[in-house]
Structure formats: C-alpha cells, structure tokens
C-alpha cells in the first residue's frame, strides 16, 4: 500500500511537471470517457434499467399481426381482447387500453388533454399506487358506471394547483362530468409521457360484439403468470388466434395469417431506438479507443523523454515490474482525472438531452448518473488507463540501461520499435475514425434520401389544426357535420386563404384508422385498410393528385349515391390489372349493415405514417355522406392552404373555431412542413448524434496523426538538417514528411474501409434507400478524411522545411 501511495505521489509530481501534455491527455480522456458515460447513461435509462413498474419483466404487450398485408404490429379490437382475456391461462391479468385526447372543461380554460381509456386492472397490474386517492375499480369499468377519472400529477398541479382535497371534484371530459378518484405519482408515465388522465375503458356490449371485430384500436397489456416465459405466452396466443380464425372465417381469411404474440413491455417501450442507441454506444467505444491511442502516443513520447530517468531507476535497482507499475499508476491517475471531468461532461449532456426532450430516446426523463453509470465510468477509466499505458510501459521498461544512459548524454533516442508502435496507433485511430465517419455518412445519406421523398402532397403553405366537437355539445353526427361545414366556410372566407378542407386523420398526424371492407363480387371482407373521412376539396387543398376518375365533390352529400375514392396502393393490392372505377365496396364484412359505396376516383399515394413508409391501401369517403345514420365523425384536422404562408392564417383558423364555439379547444396547430419535420426528427437525432461523435472521432484521429508527425519531425530535426546539408530542397523535405503521413492515412483508410464494410450492416435498420456498403458514402468519407488528414500532415511537414541545417548540425 505504501509503495502504491509512493507511486501515486511520484506520479502526480511527474504529471504536474509536464502540464501541457498532462492537460492534453486529460482533455482527450475527458472527451472520450465523457462521451461514453453520457451514451451509457442513455442506454442504462432506456434499455438496461427495469421499467418503473412492479415485476416489470413479467409485463408483456399482446400484439396482433397480419402478415398478408405486411402489418407486423396491429392493434386489437375489443372482441379480440375478450378472446385473450377469457381463453388464456398463462397470464395473471390482462388489461386493454387506448389513448386519445379529450376536451377538458370546467374549472379553468378549456384544454386538450391526452387521456388513456383503460381496464380497471391496468394500474394495479403496473403496481403503481396513486399518491392521492385510488385508481378505478372493476365495478367502475362498466358502461354507465364509468364516470370516474384519475389525474396525472402534472395536470393536478397545473389545473387544480395541487389541492389536497381533489378527490370528489368534478372535471368535464368532452362535456361529460367525471368524478376525480385519485392522482398518480409525478414519475408515472403510462402508456406514454403525454398522458395526463386515465378513465375506465368500460366497453359496451356492442363493442364486444363481432360487429366490432374489425375495429382495431386497442393496446393490450398482460402480466405473465409466475414462471411463464414470453415464448410460452406467444405459443398460447397463437393457438387462441388459430381458434378465433376458425370460429370467425368472415373476419379472418385462412390465408391472412392473422395471429397474436406476447412481447416484453420493455422491448415495446424501447422500440427501434434500441438499435440506434447500441450503434451510438459502439461509436463512443471506438472514440474511447481513438482517445486511448492518442494518449498512448503521448505516453510513449513521455517515456522516450524519460528514458534516461527510467534507465537510472533501473541502474539503481528498480525491477522491470516496478517501472511498469509506476507508469501504470501514472496512466490510471490520468484516466481517473479524465474520467472525473468526463462525468461532468456527461452530466451536461444529460441535462441538455432532458431539456430538448428528444422523443427518439425512450424514458429520457429517467436519465441520471446512477451507480451503474458511475461504476461503468470508473471501469472504463481504469481500462483506458491500462490500455494506453501498458505498451509504452513495457517498451520503456525494456530499454538497454547502458545505451539509454549513453544516449542520454546527447539527448534521447528511440528505436524503430517505437516508430512502428506509433505508426500502428495512428493507423488504428484513422481506421476507427473511418468506421464512425462511414456510419455517420450512411445516416446522412439516408436522411438526404428521405428528405427528397415526396410525401404525395404539397406541404408548402399549408397550416393545420385539430378540433374535436364533443359528444355532449354535438350529440348527433348531423350537428358535427354542420359544425365542420360552417367552420370550413368561415375559414375559406378569411383573407389569404386559398382553400380549406378537413380530414379525420391527417398525413403524418400521428394516428390513423383502419377498417375492414368487402368488395362486391369478390365476397368476404378483407381486413384492415386505412380509412379516412374528408371534406370536399381535401385533395385539392393538399394537392394530392387524382390519377383516375374524379375527386369527392360537394354534391356527394347525404341522399346522393355513396361514393369513395381509393388510392393507387389499394388499386395495386385489391384490383390488380383491373379498372376500379365503378366497382363497389363496403365497410365490414358482407353481412354488416354498412351500405355499398361506388369507387369514383383513384388518388395518388400519400405517405401517411412517415416518409420512410410506403403508402398503405387507403380509402377516402366524404364526411357529408353518413355511412350509417349514427356514423360518428369525431375530431378532425383542418388543413388550410394560404397565399402568404401558413403563419398568416393560423390566427384566422383559431378565430373561426372560437367564433362558432368559444368552448372548443383548438390544438395540434402546426404547418404541414413542421409535421414532415417532426416525422423525421428521430432520424435527424440519430444522424446528428452519430455525426457529432464522428466529428469527435475525426478530430481525435487527426490530432493523433498531427502529433505523431509533429513528434516525428521534432525527432528528425538532425536528420532533416543533414538531408538539407546534402542538398535536399524544402520541397524534398515537405514531400518526405507528407509521404510518411500519406502512408499512415492510406493504411488507416484501407483498414477502416474494410472494417466499415463488414460492420455497416448493423446499421441496416437505420438506413433508408441506402445500402450499408454505399460506394458514394465510402468514397466521400475517404475523400474527407484524406483531405483533413493531409492538411494535418502539412503543418508538421511545413515546419520540417524550416529546419535550419546549421542549427541542426550544431548538435555535434
């Protein structure tokens, strides 16, 4: 212990003796370890840490899939939920829930609040107790008894100033009074971070009927029984699905492949961010290696400078292990100081991430540096310290005492082994940087491709908002229709408005509706295509082209023949090679009471779910034509194309709503261009994160290259002096240093490109229309790195040309 303390004391003194190189090493390590700590803290919060629910590893989401239309994840319908709940034996409990937004009125200004309709068993299943009151009971999860609500902590604080006696108060949800029975804790976020209100789902008898079998809007959560695995649960679910298919052939085609599986809730929460986060973790790992290589170079240079001191120590009796241990102690000291600063850096990054609320990171609210993260950082610091010190220590401790002491009188010398090691380090750094750069390059190219994808409409100058006339104020669909018609007329008359239209689910609006349908003459219904209700003028306002037939007109109203417009994808899927115009389709199966509708037009495909997802089969009906007498319209988006830009009409849109109904909240006000921006925000985040890390990698690698060459030049002053004395021109010297740099860069590039070609396939799920071995990306990155690296070589090369042979030769 005493020897260790001595080593530490001497180590600190030696580090303090060369403040410049110590600072450079500490900064490099702080950057590399800090980046690792920050990304690991994200991975820890999002992936590693258990979900904040009791026995969370036993929570699974039950998901349906319909392979025949390529739907890997499909919501469930109430009867399907009942099938699982009543027939399964592997689950301790099963709960259904669905999320939408509601108008909250009563105390305070009307506001739109994200609300989850849930089975009574949901909150107890999660094992989270309300901080005030209780959650709702099974008795309350019945139609007619369900007017109770549980508030989110934020809503309680915001709207009710956190009053303690909140239980028993009333709130108006879409105009209907609900009694508050409890408040959830501040950190309770289920099923998403936006939900602020939970009410019973209270399915009606009709909702459980087979008529609603095709109405897919539910999520289903279940708790696995003790010792039941996900695989066992999925096996039982597949068996139930097979039975259900057999029992209801009208709804589930034999060849549709409809099935159900159980997926761990954490897997669902993490989603596709897992791959992106693991890629980032790998990238920071590479940065750490680059940083270690840089510091190893510095350490080797210091060891060379200290060769006389080390030789003296050896001559005085120090064993080789003692020398190595002294150097390892210094290295670990450096990396621990770097790690400590890195932790501060990571705190800053985490704070920044929490502030910018990146939706791409699941559970970002839970970001913190817990003991797992700190242990990781400590481990990484120790590893880094050992990594960058070991080889220099081994090399330095092996030097010949006699030679070192003899050479020491003239300065210092180092053998070809040192140079080879330095070269190997810098080649590795460049290779590692190439891998990270190519990863970032591929994401940049993907994003570029994505941003050039046409969404199927013209988003320029289109402002949108959402309004939701409540059932209480607008109890029948006729009044809802009248409201929307009046609203659109009012908006169209506002200055600057070119056209206005309404749609229940806007492209890139974040939600959608799927309905099953039947084709006249074909027979049984085919389940699940996208279903939209629109106002006349919708295609014109959005500038969605009509490829065949006609658009929906204002004459297509109640009493006129029922018409429908389908998209090109629907024609390709269900009417291949045939003319769809004039054909008849209807919602639900052949036996449902929905009327037949005639296809009058084919609209261009629109990427509703995201620019990176092909348009699904889709049908559009006019909201002016009720398909059934009580056919609900529900909330609709209003899209307005303006002359002078969307900003000019936003006020007029809100005024128009409040002119008709001052109680009605207007929400989700955005331009279509903003919606496109939001839809690619995740990819932007991935790209910017990896590009930032690539910039750090490039910087460290180039600094490494520069320092190796600069050091080499400083060691070669004498030799360069001789060469100049023998007739070398500055150009010759410049060329010789550049050649050496170019050789290192070329070797690094070659190894990096080969490694990236092997590794980039792990990025496939993050790419869009770009191959993992995209030649242009590889070429571009190689060019960029070569240019930057050669610029870094130029500086020491240039300084080499300034060597004064007279001074160099005076070393005699």
């Amino acid at each position: 212990m005493r020897i260790l303390l001595d080593d530490i004391r001497i180590g600190l003194r030696l580090l303090a003796k060369s403040p410049l190189s110590t600072s450079a090493a500490v900064l490099t390590l702080a950057l590399a370890i800090g980046a690792n700590t920050a990304i690991f803290s994200v991975v820890n919060a999002a992936i590693l840490r258990p979900l904040p629910y009791a026995d969370s590893e036993r929570l699974v989401e039950i998901r349906a899939a319909l392979p025949s239309i390529g739907a890997r994840v499909l919501p469930m319908s109430p009867p399907e939920f009942a099938d699982v709940r009543d027939r399964s034996h592997v689950f301790e409990d099963v709960a259904a829930y669905g999320t939408s937004s509601v108008n909250l009125t009563g105390e305070g200004a009307p506001e739109r609040v994200v609300t989850t309709y849930a089975s009574a068993s949901l909150i107890p299943m999660l094992g989270v107790r309300p901080v005030v009151g209780r959650s709702f009971t099974t008795d309350e999860d019945r139609e007619g008894y369900d007017r109770v609500a549980v508030l989110g902590y934020g809503l309680w604080q915001r709207r009710f100033a956190g009053i303690p006696g909140i239980v028993g108060h009333s709130i108006h949800v879409d105009g209907i009074a609900y009694t508050i029975v409890g408040v959830m804790p501040a950190d309770f976020r289920f099923p998403n971070r936006d939900t602020e209100l939970w009410v019973p789902i209270a399915f009606s008898t009709h909702q459980y009927s087979d008529d609603e079998r095709g109405s897919h809007w539910l999520s289903v959560l279940a708790r696995l029984g003790p010792n039941v695995t996900e695989q066992q649960a999925s096996a039982e679910l597949r068996s139930i699905a097979n039975d259900v298919r057999v029992e209801h052939p009208t709804f589930y085609h034999d060849d549709s492949g409809w099935t159900m599986t159980a997926t761990g809730l954490k897997t669902v929460v993490v989603g596709d961010a897992r791959q992106a986060l693991l890629v980032l973790l790998a990238a920071v790992g590479l940065i750490l290696l680059i940083g270690c290589a840089n510091v190893a170079n510095l350490t080797l240079a210091r060891a060379t400078e200290r060769s006389r001191e080390i030789a003296l120590r050896t001559a005085l009796g120090a064993s080789r292990w003692r020398i190595i241990r002294q150097m390892l102690t210094e290295g670990v000291l450096l990396s621990i100081v770097g790690g400590a600063i890195g932790v501060l850096f990571a705190v800053w990054i985490d704070t920044l991430l929490i502030a910018i609320k990146p939706d791409r990171i699941p559970r970002y609210e839970e970001l913190d540096l817990d003991w797992h993260v700190l242990a990781f950082t400590f481990g990484v610091s120790l590893l880094a310290g050992a990594l960058f010190t070991l080889v220099p220590a081994l090399v330095a401790s092996r030097s010949n005492v006699n030679d070192a002491l003899k050479d020491g009188s003239r300065g210092t010398s180092e053998g070809p082994g040192h140079n080879r090691f330095r070269a190997a380090l810098v080649v590795s750094e460049i290779a590692l940087a190439v891998i990270v750069l190519i990863g970032a390059g591929l994401l940049i190219r993907s994003l570029d491709r994505l941003l050039h994808v046409s969404p199927g409409f013209d988003p320029q100058n289109v402002a949108t908002m959402r309004v939701a006339p409540t059932e209480a104020s607008y109890p029948d669909p006729g009044r809802q229709r009248a409201f929307y018609t009046a609203l659109l007329e009012k908006i169209r008359s506002a200055p600057g408005v070119e056209s206005a239209a309404a749609v229940n689910y806007l492209p890139l609006g974040g939600s959608t509706s799927r309905r099953s349908f039947a084709i006249d003459g074909v027979g049984d219904a085919v389940v699940n295509v996208e279903f939209r209700m629109v106002s006349p003028g919708y295609f014109e306002t959005m500038e969605i082209p009509i490829r065949e037939g006609r658009s929906l007109a204002s004459t297509d109203r109640e009493g006129a023949p029922l018409v429908v417009v389908v998209n090109e994808s629907m024609v390709r899927t269900f009417f291949p090679g045939a003319d769809p115009i004039g054909r008849r389709i209807k919602l639900g199966g052949m036996e449902t009471p929905y009327p037949w509708m005639q296809i009058v037009g084919v609209a261009g495909d629109v990427r509703h779910r995201g620019l990176d997802e092909e348009a699904p089969p889709e049908m559009y009906v006019s909201y002016l034509q009720p398909l059934l007498p009580d056919f609900e319209i529900g909330p609709m988006f209003v899209a307005v194309r303006s002359v002078g830009g969307p900003g000019h009409v936003a006020g007029a849109m809100t005024d128009a709503v409040h002119g008709l109904d001052p109680e009605l909240p207007v929400y989700d006000v955005k331009t279509m261009e903003d919606r496109i921006g939001s839809s690619v925000a995740g990819r932007w985040f991935d790209m910017l994160s990896l590009a930032s890390l690539a910039a750090v990698a490039l910087l460290l690698a180039v600094v490494g290259l520069y320092s190796v060459l600069a050091y080499a030049v400083s060691r070669r002053v004498h030799e360069i002096g001789i060469r100049m004395a023998l007739g070398a021109s500055p150009g010759d010297i410049l060329k010789s240093v550049l050649e050496r740099g170019a050789l290192l860069v070329a070797a690094g590039l070659a190894i990096g490109i080969a490694s990236a070609a092997a590794l980039s396939r792990y990025l496939t799920s993050l790419l869009f229309q770009v191959e993992p071995t995209d030649a242009w990306t590889f070429l571009g990155v190689s060019g960029l790195l070569a240019a930057v690296a050669l610029a870094a070589c130029y500086l020491p090369a240039r300084s080499a040309t300034n060597v004064d042979p007279l001074v160099a030769l005076r070393h005699d």
Binding site: E719, I722, L806, L809
Partner: protein
Amino acid sequence: MISLRNVEKHVERAGTRTYILSRIDLTVGEGDFVSVMGPSGAGKSTLLHIIGMHDAGWTGELAFLGRDVHTLNPKQRAELRNQNIGFVFQSYHLLDDLTVYENLEIPLSYRNYPKHERASIVADVLDRFQIVGKKDLYPSQLSGGQQQLVGVARAIVASPKVILADEPTGNLHSEQGREIMKLFKRLNDEGTTIIQVTHSEENAAYGNRVVRLRDGWIVDA
C-alpha cells in the same frame, strides 16, 4: 575560386552585439587545400558554413566560382551549393535508417540524377573507396573510421569542385584519422579544392595553406 570580402557575422546577446566573424578577407584558389585553425569559439565552423552557403545571416561579399553569393536568393544559393560543394562532418551524420548504398545515393537523388545513373555513380564510388562489401550495412554496423569513410564518399559522390570538412577526424582515433587525411590529400591531388576545419597541426600538414582565426578575426592567412 572563392573570395570573401569584409565578411562579418554577429549575434545579439542581452542587448549586446557580439561578433563571431569580423572583417574576413580570404581568397581560396582552385586546387587549394586550406586548413582553418584556431581555438574553440574562434568562428571556424561558422566561416565554413558561410562558404558552404548554409548560413545566410552575414554581411560582406562572397564570390564563389565567379558568382556573387551575397546577391543570390536562397534557391539560387542552394543550386550553386548542390552543384559544387560536398560536406564532411565531424560526427559523420550518416542517416541511420539508410544503408551505406542509400546514404551515398541521397545527394544524387536530391540533384535529380536518374536512377540508372545514380546506381552507376554509387557503384563507382563504392569501388573507389573499397567499401563494396559494406554497401548493405547500416551506419550502426560500421566503425567510426568506416562511417567517416562513407561520409567522405558521400561528400564526393556528386563530383563537387569543393569539399568542406568540419573537423573530419575529430571523432576518430589517430590511425583512422590519418587514413581519412590521406584520402583528402588524394582527392586534392585529383583536383578537388578542400577547406577543412581542424585543431590538428598534423592534419593541417596535409594541406598547402593554413588560415588561423582568433575571436572571429583572421590572424594569419
């Protein structure tokens, strides 16, 4: 062949101007073998490097083979030097990472000799200096005398008219030193002008003229 008129060099130290060379007037004729002698710090090496056009920080006039060096720019000086001067250093200054052959080839490559011509010249020099058997050895594998032999061979490989030697035997024992001086004498007899800096009267005796310096002044020429 070489003429220095009123050449001076000084440095500023702590606000004081210190002259390293003062009012140097010297003429060296073609075929001369001049030994520059004097105590340490007399300015011998500085004078050598001014003549060798490595040192540019001086005043006065230097004519070399009829050209006024003081009027030439650095590039022209380098050209003139490369075509006409070979250097021999006290510490040999062979390039450690290059073989004997490659060390001899270096001055030729800097003078843009084609590869085949370089090979022929180097082979000739190796033969002339009887070091063919050592052509693939590295400097560290040679004795001091052998290294200086290579150093001299390298100095003459590009057939310079003048050899400037800065204490060429300083690091050699007497027998090796004598061999090198004999070699210089032979080269001088063959027509090469030689200016050497030396402390040794014995070495100076191989030449035909001695220039003595003291405190930057020529005291005897």
